[in-house]
């Protein structure tokens, strides 16, 4: 089946609502058979982008291609797209079977085939046997599965999900997102998935596109966004992060970063694009270690615990240092610190993320 999947290309796509520029000059390629997540804060244009791809909304300028077909002018009916809405949008006056079989009936499929296709797709979402129920007789999670089944039953070229799990409680959400991922990989349909939950995005996607104010901030696989954020915004949005200012000095393979009153050598590639000078550092909480003795003074920041919160398996600390207040998390079984206690902060040099100062306005 995977051989029939297509790639989706957006060429310089913009969408304006009156004066609001919901999307501004978007260029993206969604590789065939992948699941790509659109991530970003509320109002950044995720839903709009999805609706442009579906054809429910026309583009203001630009082109949309499915494989080698330009679909910009095609209406939603002719685009061969399946979509799962945040509200599920199941037809309340139709049973599960009627909901799922709706598109098949529109296409005048033979009745026997309709029935078997409904069964097949309901089996995929583990909802076989619910055919004669009405949507309001189903739980939220079940409704969501039916919505997924309905979106997939016509075997569309493209599957779109607009925050499909946001109305489902957090425990169920975890298993549902795995189901969606499994179904998508099984069918190999090129999919776009909108969410503003970054953990969900990391868990399901081949690729994440982080959006901001109608533009693309960064695109890449989850790990690359996590480990190599291009901007402070990305570092802040994906995972948790302490952002501090520092200076990059030295040359060749031996460069150093200076922040607070310490200097840390970093092993960076020769080709590393960063120029010497002021930079931002993103320090993930898990690379910050707290110590109460100090064998190696010039590599450690001195600090004072200003806040401590017991979270069960971990304890969260805020530490005030010369480089700013740092936030970290320590397993509860290790040594515990008290508020106002003096500590030394060790930062694993290899895990420091350097973000060039210049191209950021955050």
């Amino acid at each position: 089946m995977t051989d029939s999947s297509i790639k989706i290309v957006l060429k310089n796509v913009s969408k304006h609502f009156g004066k609001v520029r919901a999307l501004d000059g978007i260029d993206i390629e969604f590789a065939q058979g992948t699941l790509t997540t659109l991530l970003g804060p509320s109002g950044c244009g995720k839903t709009t982008l999805l609706r442009l791809v579906s054809g429910l909304e026309p583009v203001t300028t630009g082109e949309i291609w499915f494989g080698d077909e330009n679909v910009t002018g095609l209406s939603a009916t002719r685009r061969d797209v399946g979509m799962v809405f945040q509200s599920y949008a199941l037809f309340p006056h139709m049973t599960v079977a009627q909901n799922v079989g709706y598109g098949l009936r529109v296409l005048k499929t033979a009745p026997e085939e309709i029935e078997s296709r409904i069964r097949e797709v309901l089996q995929m979402v583990a909802m076989d046997g619910y055919q004669s129920r009405y949507p309001d007789e189903l739980s939220g999670g079940q409704q969501q599965r039916v919505a997924v089944a309905r979106a997939m039953v016509l075997r569309p070229k493209v599957l779109l999900f607009d925050e499909p799990l946001s109305n489902i409680d957090s425990k169920l959400r975890r298993s549902m997102r795995e189901d969606i991922r499994r179904l998508q990989q099984l069918s190999g349909i090129t999919s776009i998935y909108v969410t503003h939950d970054q953990a969900e995005a990391m868990a399901v996607s081949d690729e994440i596109i982080l959006m901001r104010n109608g533009t693309i901030e960064q695109q890449g696989p989850p790990q690359s966004l996590y480990h190599y954020p291009a901007t402070v915004f990305v570092a802040d949005f994906i995972g948790e992060s302490n952002i501090i200012t520092a200076e990059l000095i030295g040359s060749g393979g031996k460069r150093q970063i200076v922040f607070g009153d310490i200097k840390i050598s970093v092993s960076v590639d020769e080709q590393m694009p960063y120029a010497n000078g002021p930079v931002k550092l993103s320090l993930r909480p898990e690379i910050i270690e707290l110590l109460n003795s100090n064998p190696n003074a010039d590599q450690r920041l001195k600090g004072v615990i200003v806040q401590r919160a017991y979270m069960g398996p971990v304890i969260e600390y805020s530490v005030e240092t010369k480089a700013g207040t740092l936030f970290t998390r320590v397993p509860a079984h290790s040594h515990q610190f008290q508020v106002n206690e003096k500590v030394y902060v060790h930062i694993h040099p290899d895990e420091i993320i350097i973000i060039p100062e210049n191209d950021d306005n955050n």
Partner: protein
């Protein structure tokens, strides 16, 4: 994998174009191209043949050849947007040419021409949708054209005719000063003043009564409040002038009150010196301002009650509780907290009361006496021997202007929300009860009201069974017998049958157009939407008498000459009832998520299929109640149809009014009570059916 048939869903296949073209050709060949002398219900074979299109040398071949020439373009696909441009321009040109032909030759269009035009309009819709209008959705493009046509032909054009009659003299000379001559002529100022006075006082009074009823029904701890739930049905099912008639039975010169007083106090009354006329003796105090005022307050208060109680029941009780805990007593709380919160509803009710009072025609006609208002004055300038169309138009313009002004004030103040009227009246548990003394006063008031209304309706009912109200109270069946037992061709039957037929046709038509308008206004954004939007405003605000004048002016002459036919009455009834469909459609559609329609579209369904399979089932109860209400409105309306009904197309209300005018009150009230009774049974039936189906569905649908 590949589901595509040769035409993708939503795409126009050649057969669509070809079938429209062939319908047009068939209509041209078989149906009368020009209007038949006596309409479609009464013609000879000769007349029919003579009216056929190919009898007219000027178009004998041009039109069918043009139509035939379109055929190949339906079969081949022109490059790019060629097909779209071709059909847009070709059908547009032909429509224009036909219209110009009819206007210049002063001929009236016939049925065949109507069908041909409709087909051409459909081809036009195909053309512009191919060009990208409505994103290529032909059905929606067609619906938009249909609605725009309805609005332009039956609202804008007639209203323009009113303007034309005021601005131009009979000979077609431009005379803008004519308007000022008319309105400054003797009497017009007084009529306007009368109308305004009445509208203002009625607006205020209905609002106050509405507040009392709303407070009483929601806040009082009394039994009779359940009666209030029923009482707002009455004015809906009662023809507007019947309340006026019953007031005459009660308070008129020969009314019961006068009789009773004379009986008690003697013919002279108590304090009247011998020889002078008694205060009560046969006095006409009910005619004029007081009578119209009373009749309008009685029939408009339920509307005001619905507006205010809808808002009252949505007030959060905690606001009032907060005031009570700050030691304000119940009375103060009511005055300082509750009433200010109701301000929008109060304003809305007041303005609605004003508009309805100014537009009311039946009550002033029956009760007016010396007190002339715009709506009756308009009627009398045409109905009498005067036939002064210029004056009727000028007065109509003033009335339209007044009512539009109030309507715009209402829209601006209360926002578009007032469009979506509050329907259900719900009582929440924890409300502040009324102060004891106030509740007592209200109980007295409400009881008196019900007694009065009860007596009025009973007197209508009894009035049909006595010989001569006021003079001879002998029981008799003669009025009813005269109406109903003289065979189906005489008495009340023809008018009753006409009313039923027209209403049965008008109700679905108005619901269809109303819901389509609501759909377009809530769901579609496009250039030209403003036309429909403004048309809707006019439909909402235009008084019935103005519609009557405008239609007489617009449709009495070619190219659309339909006065005196059933068609015009049906269209009038449809337009008069349309606000119901639009309001109902808008509030229902605003509660249906557009995601449902989008989900359907993504399942490859075109918009027609989406509307049919998704929207219609969800709108079912709205459509049923809108149809029922439109039907009742059509049966009871009088203001516009009285201008348009003729001997052959008399309807129930106009027949009753004509009997009132000729002094047969007994017959009139006998007919009126039967009409009310029929409507009551119909309403109960509809409520029973929809009520049951809703509870049935409730389990499944929501």
């Amino acid at each position: 994998m590949n589901q595509r048939i040769n035409t993708a869903p939503g795409e126009i296949g050649p057969w669509v174009l070809l079938s429209w073209i062939s319908i047009a050709l068939a209509a041209y060949c078989l149906l009368p191209w020009t209007a038949l002398e006596y309409g479609l219900t009464d013609f000879t074979k000769e007349e029919w043949l003579n009216a056929l299109g190919w009898k007219f040398s000027k178009i004998t071949l041009i039109l069918p050849l043009t139509l035939a020439a379109l055929v190949p373009f339906g079969l081949i696909k022109l490059p790019g947007r060629g097909t779209g441009w071709f059909f847009t321009i070709a059908s547009g040109t032909v429509i224009g040419a036909v219209l110009i032909g009819f206007v210049t030759t002063q001929t009236s269009m016939g049925l065949g021409c109507g069908v041909v035009m409709m087909c051409l309009a459909a081809l036009f819709a195909v053309g512009i949708s191919e060009l990208g209008f409505q994103r290529g959705d032909t059905f929606i493009a067609g619906a938009v054209i249909f609605v725009v046509f309805m609005v332009v032909a039956f609202i804008f054009f007639p209203v323009w005719e009113i303007f034309r009659n005021v601005l131009f003299t009979k000979n077609g000379e431009f005379a803008p000063l004519q308007f000022f001559q008319i309105i400054t002529s003797f009497g017009v100022g007084r009529v306007v003043w009368n109308t305004l006075m009445l509208a203002f006082t009625v607006g205020a009074a209905t609002t106050i009564c509405g507040i009392v009823f709303a407070l009483y029904s929601i806040r009082a701890t009394s039994r009779i409040r359940v009666l209030i739930r029923v009482f707002y049905i009455l004015p809906i099912i009662t023809p507007p002038f019947v309340v006026g008639m019953s007031l005459i039975l009660l308070f008129g010169r020969a009314g019961m009150i006068n009789d009773a007083l004379m009986f008690l106090l003697g013919p002279q009354g108590l304090f009247t010196p011998a020889g002078a006329q008694g205060i009560f003796e046969r006095s006409g105090y009910i005619y004029g301002f007081s009578g119209i005022f009373l009749a309008q307050v009685l029939s408009l208060t339920p509307v005001s009650y619905m507006v205010i109680s809808g808002m009252l029941s949505s007030i959060n009780p905690s606001m009032e509780e907060a005031s009570l805990t700050m030691r304000a007593n119940r009375g103060k709380t009511l005055w300082n907290v509750t009433l200010p919160l109701l301000r929008p509803a109060i304003a809305n009710s007041f303005l609605l009361g004003m508009i309805s009072s100014a537009a009311d025609f039946g009550n002033p006609l029956v009760l007016g006496g010396e007190y002339d208002v715009l709506s009756t004055e308009i009627y009398f300038s045409i109905a009498g021997a005067q036939l002064d169309f210029a004056k009727a138009s000028a007065l109509g313009l003033i009335l339209l202007f007044l009512s539009l002004t109030v309507f715009f004030i209402q829209r601006k103040w209360i926002g578009k929300k007032s469009y979506v009227t509050v329907t259900g009246v719900e009582t929440s548990g924890n409300v502040t009860p009324l102060p004891v003394g106030m509740q007592r006063c209200m109980t007295v008031f409400v009881t008196l009201w019900f007694v009065l209304v009860g007596v009025l309706y009973v007197s209508i009912f009894l009035g049909g069974f006595v010989k001569q109200w006021g003079a001879d109270y002998t029981l008799t069946l003669s009025h009813h017998l005269e109406l109903w037992s003289k065979g189906l061709g005489s008495g009340a039957w023809p008018s009753f049958r006409n009313s039923l037929t027209y209403a049965v046709v008008a109700a679905p038509l108005t619901t269809l157009v109303g819901v389509l308008i609501a759909y377009i206004l809530t769901r579609k954004q496009f250039w030209g939407r403003g036309i429909i939007d403004f048309g809707t405003v006019l439909i909402f605000a235009i008084p019935g008498t103005v519609v009557g004048v405008a239609y007489i002016l617009a449709f009495n002459t070619p190219p659309i000459e339909i006065t005196g036919t059933a068609i015009i009455l049906i269209i009038t009834m449809a337009i008069r009832a349309m606000p119901v469909g639009i309001r109902g459609g808008m509030s229902a559609l605003s509660q249906i998520s557009t995601n449902l329609e989008e989900a359907s579209v993504l399942q490859r369904a075109g918009s027609l299929k989406t509307i049919w399979s998704v929207l219609l089932p969800l709108l079912k109860s709205t459509i049923v109640s809108s149809m029922a209400y439109s039907f009742i409105r059509a049966m009871t309306t009088v203001s516009a149809v009285i201008f348009l009904a003729t001997a052959g197309t008399d309807v129930a209300t106009t027949y009753i009014l004509s009997r009132v005018e000729s002094g047969d009150t007994g017959v009139a009230v006998a007919y009126g009570s039967v009409l009310i009774f029929t409507m009551l049974i119909f309403t109960l039936l509809v409520q029973f059916i929809t009520g049951r189906s809703r509870t049935e569905k409730q389990v499944k649908t929501f």
